[in-house]
Subunit: 227 residues, 2 copies
């Protein structure tokens, strides 16, 4: 009976973490929509919903601690819950990046637009997909999927470098639009950090699945992630 309650709690934790991921992804998507349309109303939506993401983070933490306190978890479950706490923190910071982007967009609205040849929406969609896949790799205990997230980080890093150089060039050649270029450069850095959080999550997944595997062989326990 207690064991059943514990497993219900684990399922609940997964659902909450998934919802947290959805909120963080939506925040970045909105921030990029705001960038695309220089839309202050959408920026304000992102700023408004930050408190909600922070509250969701606390909830996941509290549930994790309750589960740890409820009973002596088996090694696999213990590692799963600890990974939840770490991933939760990364997702909250993805939300922070959305706020940072929105603040830059609010700064851009009044500025002369530069004619930068950069694809921020593509960089955003790469980064958001990394977060989504990292979270899914966790919930399905799929180390291969996590590995594929790690491999995509270079792509985003390269885009960040390209945008940095393009914006840097624009700053000296379109001086009247330098602030727009500067804000774009910072937004690219924020997206690069979103991808970094995805990478952190993927690393936690690999660490967790491997740890699980080792203990699985040693103690004959089943995998929490596939329960």
């Amino acid at each position: 009976m207690t064991r059943t309650r514990f497993h219900q709690g684990l399922d609940d934790l997964k659902q909450k973490l998934l919802a947290m991921g959805g909120m963080a992804e939506q925040a970045v998507e909105r921030a990029i929509r705001a960038y695309d349309n220089r839309d202050i109303a959408v920026c304000e939506l992102v700023l408004r919903d930050e408190a909600q993401i922070n509250a969701a983070e606390r909830e996941v933490d509290e549930l994790s601690i309750d589960l740890l306190a409820m009973q002596q978890p088996m090694a696999v479950d213990l590692r799963f819950i600890i990974a939840c706490i770490k991933i939760n923190s990364d997702l909250e910071r993805v939300g922070d990046q959305a706020v940072n982007i929105s603040e830059r967009v609010m700064d851009m609205v009044a500025q002369t637009r530069s004619t930068l040849n950069v694809d921020i929406p593509r960089m955003a969609s790469l980064s958001i997909n990394m977060v989504r896949d990292a979270l899914n790799s966790f919930l399905t205990a799929n180390a291969e999927m996590a590995q594929s997230v790690l491999e995509r980080d270079d792509l985003v890093d390269n885009m960040n470098r390209e945008i940095f150089e393009a914006a840097d060039y624009a700053m000296t050649h379109q001086v009247e639009a330098h602030r727009d270029a500067l804000d774009t450069l910072i937004i690219a850095r924020n997206l690069e950090r979103v991808a970094d959080h995805a990478t952190n999550i993927a690393e936690d997944v690999i660490f967790w699945v491997r740890g699980t595997d080792v203990r699985h062989r040693a103690e004959g326990q089943t995998l929490t992630g596939s329960s």
Copy 2:
């Protein structure tokens, strides 16, 4: 006997976390020294030592998980260990900011210097002190000290905004030195993130101490932080 081993483990965890904090602080201090002297050799030192900080992070995580697995921890000890895991992750990211700063400094070495009237070393020392005090507030379970860290965040935010505007102005008025101004602006943002991590830690401390207090009254347990 097992209980004693558990408490030795907790003390060991504290020491490891403190060492982790020292490494992260040193990395930022070195990065700022590198900035001050435009010193590539010191930048390389920061980049070299990043792997060491990452390894230390894994060690703290592993020890935390071992302690959680060792026995059913009491609620206060459980919250203490979870706080260690969260703070550990913040400290590792403080180290990441030192790496980011060093990369900017390496970019600056070849550039024409701008004549920005900004005090990066002061901003750095404010931010590093926030990290140090946040960590000490944790190890002494001092919510008041943690509160004082939160209050200093605005100061660093304001410095960041001032440096942003000063660098932005320099970009249009010293176009030949715009890249130096740009790199300085990014370094200020990195320091602002160091202060954010200190804030995160301080918030965890308040969350932990309050949680402890509540459970302390309910269950009559002693405070891990003062043991």
